[in-house]
Symmetry: C2
Subunit: 302 residues, 2 copies
């Protein structure tokens, strides 16, 4: 087994906070815009370096995020925090640009069935869309990250071949996105699989253009991050309070909790400048709106 | 960092199932004896190689386990499964022997305050008790495992020095117990700490005399097992459905779920002959008695 990097070598990891988008898109409750804004501001004040604050999607598809413009207009931008939003297409990019965001995320998938159900496009069509968005974003001076969904398994098709994931990640990287977030949309990945996928991925992409996005459906997410650290990966998606899921992926559950990753990474000796207790408090502030959905993770101060 | 062993080298791990004891001792509900017996029989039928079925303790201290004799008498012993019980003293050992058990577990701790509150003895006194039980058990042909509680942190004293853990583990091993279960009673351990503790422990004890016992309070337990596998540890405590905690340890929560460890270890390529779906079904069968306490872990067939 290859372990190219020692956990304490290289830079401290970057946590990419997805709760305001990946977390709240999956909540049945309609959360007041003011509560979202306060939540995001608490997350940035906790020291998180990157926050995906919403998605510019069709309100009839994801009514939970219909207030995207109001959310972006309402937050207080903290110097040192990057703010991003998911944009499924050129229309979304135009809305994000109009809202004054300097970073967006686009979406592709590793399996045809999920791609059809999630974005109503084939995988090839979704990559073409990502490319069109990436070109327009580049012209507008906006940075683009790309999600590669269902990279560790599809809720409809099951196993996804490693070679397909590697090939799709390379195609997305070739579009000029700054990083590809290889995503376990439904939370089936385990550390053995993470090692196999990363052994192949790091052959074709530099580690600083890869991020990993884990859901915790089977309780493997923290262990998966531990496995990935050994391969030099240094960007991990996480969600305050463990909120999350995917409305178009049956069986998915919450993203890995940001608090848990801070505890893991601090314990490995990394100092990231993110306060776990403040992240936890931000998550808890949403509890009245998402009753019972906040992961009860305990903390020492970061 | 030292990584003495490759995950796929050496023997397949042994799961030591603790839900009937460590899980149910912490439940407020009084669970019918027949439900416990059916639960244990489902666990053995799932292929688990070792089950701690109860504790022979004072009914006024742990009323949840007052039916210890009836539980042991009622279960159907599956060839290939070891059955054990916790015994805090010679009286407990006598009851276990009378019940026909060939294996027991004794209890010590890494911190004075917890030892006082848990067994009403100093650490030295508890080790003396372990020694007395071990000698009597040896004379009776009964195998003994020793727990070393609060080895990664104490709910009253906080941090526990690694040197103390190593010294106490060695003292327990010298009593002739077949293994020392180094235990994170309150779930504060993280993989960085596991690596530090194991780096020291494997200098003084062979890996096949060490077991690890993790609670999942902060979501680190699966990652801790992944870290420990790299050090050659091959016995891990786990609890079906993630039941557990400690009535005398404030802030503790459930043991790592057996289903999660099966998923992790199968994913690493180990074949243990334990059926995760059957373990999950056993846990779910208790749900009416421990409402809301079963970890919802999803599985592929093992």
């Amino acid at each position: 087994m290859t372990r190219p990097s020692d956990p304490l070598s290289g830079q401290a990891p970057t946590l990419y906070e997805v709760a305001p988008r990946d977390g709240l898109q999956n909540e049945a409750a309609s959360i007041p815009t003011a509560a979202k804004i306060a939540f995001i501001d608490r997350l940035s004040q906790a020291g998180l370096p990157a926050i995906e604050v919403t998605a510019f999607v069709r309100a009839d598809r994801v009514p939970q995020l219909a207030d995207a413009e109001a959310v972006v207009a309402g937050i207080t931008r903290r110097p040192g925090t990057r703010y991003s939003a998911l944009v499924p297409n050129l229309e979304g990019l135009e809305r994000a640009a109009a809202a004054g965001l300097a970073e967006v995320a686009v979406l592709s998938a590793s399996s045809e069935t999920f791609s059809r159900r999630n974005v109503n496009q084939s995988v090839d069509e979704s990559i073409a869309t990502c490319g069109a968005v990436a070109r327009a974003a580049d012209a507008a001076g906006i940075r683009v990250r790309a999600y590669l969904s269902t990279a560790f398994g599809c809720p409809f098709e099951g196993d996804v071949p490693v070679e397909r994931v590697v090939a799709l990640a390379a195609r997305l990287a070739d579009l000029g996105v700054f990083e590809v977030a290889v995503s376990d949309t439904i939370g089936v990945a385990h550390p053995g699989q993470v090692r196999r996928v990363l052994t192949a991925l790091v052959q074709v992409l530099p580690v600083d253009r890869l991020a990993l996005h884990f859901h915790d459906t089977r309780g493997m997410a923290v262990a998966n991050v531990l496995a990935a650290i050994d391969y030099g990966i240094r960007t991990f998606d996480a969600s305050a309070g463990g909120l999350g899921g995917c409305p178009f992926a049956p069986g998915s559950s919450g993203n890995v909790a940001t608090e848990s990753l801070i505890y893991l990474l601090n314990g490995l000796g990394y100092r990231m400048g993110v306060r776990a207790d403040e992240v936890a408090a931000a998550g808890t502030s949403l509890e009245p709106h998402v009753r019972g959905r906040i992961v009860a993770v305990r903390h020492r101060p970061a």
